[in-house]
């Protein structure tokens, strides 16, 4: 029992990342009808927003500290971050420590701008082209983005720690009446899960409860009619592209402490997120979220030793097997609408 709860918890953080990326992919597909292979790269750029901000915040200058001496008796050179000298040592250190959560604020405008440029500069010209062309051009764009990041940040993963408050683990088992230290779960992963739940909730309520969201939903259902009613649907869809990019970016920012960002993390996530979208149903937002958590949990269940001893290697392929089964038996996915991309 405790093992099962542990695996469900373990599946949550990966599932959250899948769900957030798949949500963005589905938003783009549902609104613009474009298959975006560069979405993984947006996730990666989000993670590098966190890296960049933490680097900027810890920029420092060197002073000679007369009170300390090195082994030759000369004054010691000490690096002092600008943040500490401007805001005082305590607040400055706190700012540096909290650079990843602060990067959320930093990344939203960055990702929105990237999303707008991408949509207006490139994707716009591909609405009428076949899906294969869209896949190809966004695949090329993904390569370009990832190589640019590699050029500036190098090929090695860059550790980006979470704030000190969140290091350590939370003993979940005690809460449920198990022995201590049976079900432990890192705090940051809990934060990640909560954060993605908030983002998902925000996107859904934005679409559900605002006039803007209502127009977008109407446009997803029937773009032409909405256009005939005198609404500039293109402009709204561009904004939705920006929002989808921002969602992927935020997923990346918060994922940085879990796995040190490297330039190809986007590609690794992209394939799986596509599988998630397909399982959930192309164009279905709740389906994407559901399938994200489902597959994330399934993956961590498959990596249990008990399961692995029966089916060796099942943890490596379980997601693909599920996707293939779903595509063959229920092509529109778990929650896809009837008739949407069912061929």
């Amino acid at each position: 029992m405790d093992a099962i709860i542990l695996q469900i918890l373990n599946g949550l953080d990966k599932g959250s990342a899948y769900a957030l990326i798949a949500l963005g992919l589905t938003l783009i597909f549902g609104t613009l009808g474009v298959v975006n292979f560069a979405h993984g790269a947006l996730f990666m750029i989000g993670a590098f927003c966190a890296v960049t901000l933490s680097k900027i915040l810890s920029l420092s200058y060197v002073i000679l500290d007369e009170t300390q001496t090195d082994f030759l008796g000369k004054p010691l050179k000490v690096k002092v971050p600008y943040a500490e000298s401007w805001f005082g040592p305590e607040i400055g250190a706190a700012i540096i420590d909290w650079s990843v959560p602060l990067a959320i604020l930093f990344s939203i405008p960055v990702m929105l701008v990237i999303g707008f440029i991408m949509e207006r500069g490139l994707i716009k010209h591909f609405y009428k082209r076949p899906h294969a062309d869209q896949i190809l051009v966004t695949f090329g764009l993904a390569i370009v983005m990832q190589e640019i990041i590699k050029y500036f940040y190098g090929a090695n993963p860059i550790p980006t720690p979470a704030p000190d408050v969140f290091t350590g683990s939370f003993d979940f088992g005690v809460l449920l009446g198990f022995d201590p230290n049976v079900i432990i779960y890192p705090y940051w992963r809990l934060v990640y899960f909560g954060f993605s739940a908030i983002i998902i909730g925000a996107v859904f309520s934005f679409l559900r409860f605002t006039t803007f969201g209502m127009v977008v939903r109407a446009g997803m259902a029937d773009r032409e009619t909405v256009g005939l009613l005198g609404i500039d649907i293109d402009k709204r869809f561009t904004l939705m592209f920006g929002i989808a990019a921002a969602v992927a970016g935020l997923a990346g920012v918060m994922y940085a402490p879990i796995n040190s960002p490297n330039y190809h993390m986007g590609m690794d996530f992209l394939v799986l997120s596509f599988v998630v979208v397909v399982v959930g149903g192309m164009g279905s937002l709740p389906g994407a979220v559901l399938a994200g958590f489902l597959l994330g949990t399934l993956e961590s269940f498959a990596s249990m030793n008990e399961v692995k001893s029966i089916f060796p290697g099942i943890d490596q392929i379980i997601i693909y097997v599920v996707a293939i089964l779903i595509l063959l038996t229920r092509p529109r996915g778990l929650m896809g609408r009837k008739g949407v991309m069912e061929d």
Partner: protein, 397 residues
């Protein structure tokens, strides 16, 4: 000639001549000169040209004719490599059985995957093939380690049985791959003045096979079967309304292109007898897509051009470094020289993939027909107006 129209026969002859004389053509600079780094006439690179040429020709039969975009073709290449290496381990170092087995195994594997994937079309097909390829990669990397030797990759050892050959040579080393005694790595060097030309047995084997593969693809393109495949691309629904079932045709095209990929994998292993899981990764599948599109999907010569283009520039661009750039731009004033070198720097050396990605995007955006279309456009510029062919007839929708 060979049952081809005159135009196709000319194309075939041109390709055959180009591949046969490649050791000369790719070595235009004397080996001591500063330009020698742009020579591509050494065996390893030339083998890669033709092997990837075969891979892309096969991919084009599926993508170019039927329009089904597979993102998992590298899996077949990987399977071909593994089966060839197993043949070297178990049977003998002769390349013929290895290549035959790799084609057969890749064919069976693609039959299985194609049968399932082709139940869907469009983007679903792409994602299904992607999922299958990634699954095979993961399997080869972890669970199937007894067959694939996991991360290390499958290699020959001295303890392999090699029933029809010998486990080890007289001096106790691993035997090399050969074609009835002709060693694949044997190279004849021809020195002519300052030039050195290398003629490699392995390259010529690959080149002959590529010319044959190219011939076969011309025949497929011009056959009634090829016409059916084009019908699938232009309008599958209408095709089925005329009473034809598109499924067997697509599956046949899928299996054929899978066998081409297996052939390429088998040749790769024959030139260098090892096989690793990274050959099956989906980025490797992406590479063959790049080659085909860059050259021109759906054209005969396009994929070969694309493969040669990408492999050549990959090699050249990776070699250029800042010192070379400085020597090129040394005629400029110092400040300007440094500026130019700084601007070009991200695109060369390790930045080759950036250049490739940009180039690929440009091609998809502006030249959907690839290099072949680019060539046609240039030719049209120089033609007089009156003999331009009538506007392409579009099928009525």
């Amino acid at each position: 000639m060979f049952g081809l129209e005159k135009k196709d026969a000319t194309l075939l002859v041109i390709v055959a001549i180009l591949t046969l004389f490649a050791p000369f053509l790719l070595n235009p600079f004397p080996s001591e000169s500063a330009m020698a780094q742009f020579n591509a006439g050494y065996p390893d690179l030339m083998q890669r040209f033709v092997i990837f040429g075969i891979f892309a020709i096969g991919f084009n039969i599926l993508f170019g004719l039927t329009g089904y975009l597979s993102f998992g073709h590298a899996a077949f290449l990987g399977v071909g490599s593994y089966s060839a290496v197993w043949m070297f381990k178990l049977l003998s170092m002769n390349v013929i059985p290895a290549i035959v087995l790799s084609i057969v195994v890749a064919g069976l594997f693609s039959l299985l995957i194609g049968f399932i994937s082709l139940r869907r079309s469009g983007i679903y097909f792409s994602i299904l093939t992607l999922a299958f390829a990634q699954m095979s990669f993961n399997l080869a990397y972890s669970v199937l380690t007894p067959i694939t030797n996991g991360e290390t990759g499958l290699q020959l050892t001295l303890n392999d049985p090699r029933v029809l050959g010998q486990s080890a040579t007289a001096d106790g080393s691993i035997p090399v791959t050969s074609l009835f005694g002709l060693e694949m790595r044997s190279t004849y060097e021809l020195v002519m003045g300052p030039w050195t030309f290398q003629f490699n047995a392995g390259y010529y084997l690959c080149a002959i096979i590529m010319v044959l593969a190219f011939y076969l693809s011309i025949r497929i393109f011009r056959s009634p079967f090829g016409l059916m495949l084009r019908a699938i691309k232009s309008n599958q629904t209408r095709m089925s309304y005329t009473g034809l079932n598109p499924k067997p045709y697509t599956l046949a095209a899928f299996v054929i292109s899978g066998m081409y990929a297996g052939l390429a994998g088998g040749l790769m292993a024959s030139m260098d007898p090892l096989a690793g899981a990274e050959r099956m990764q989906w980025t490797a599948s992406g590479e063959v897509v790049l080659m085909t599109i860059l050259g021109g999907a759906g054209t005969l010569i396009g994929p070969v051009l694309g493969a040669g283009f990408i492999k050549y520039f990959e090699n050249i661009f990776s070699k250029i470094n800042d010192t070379v750039l400085h020597s090129w731009f040394s005629f400029m004033p110092d400040g300007l020289e440094n500026l130019v070198v700084m601007l070009v720097h991200p695109f060369i050396g390790k930045g080759w993939h950036l250049t490739l990605g940009l180039m690929f995007m440009m091609v998809v955006i502006f030249l959907p027909g690839g290099l072949v279309e680019g060539g046609q456009r240039i030719r049209r510029l120089f033609r007089r107006k009156d003999d331009t062919p009538a506007a392409k007839t579009e099928p009525a929708e």
